[in-house]
Point group: C2
Chain length 71, copies 2
């Protein structure tokens, strides 16, 4: 079933950062759509909760060097 | 044996982008050090050529949404 999570992500400072986060999350199995805003420090993802968790998404974001919380 | 490759990477527009590229490359087995400069559109990596190739590094950079060439 699709769920939506909104995470607070700090460290993104431009559209290139947003794009890197979006593409990294979209590679995870079960992530359906991602939007990212560096001006709002926000990343919102729609995902299949039987295949991926917000924690896995936050780990992937943090592996890029950004901080992720919430969800 | 360690070799050095300098790639031309476009699309990085801030330090957050540089960091995302660096961390992504450092996750590849065989990549030893990485420096990235968005102002110079350059990424330089020292790597073990028996374990990783410049092509693999460029694919990883492009998966983040940046363009990579050279090396």
């Amino acid at each position: 079933m699709s769920e939506t999570v909104k995470m607070t992500v700090t460290g993104m400072t431009c559209g290139g950062c947003e794009n890197a986060v979006k593409r990294t999350l979209m590679k995870l199995d079960g992530v359906e759509t991602v939007s990212a805003s560096h001006s709002e420090n926000a990343v919102t993802a729609v995902y299949d909760s039987s295949r991926v968790t917000p924690d896995a998404m936050k780990r992937a974001i943090e592996a890029l060097g950004y901080s992720a919380a919430g969800g």
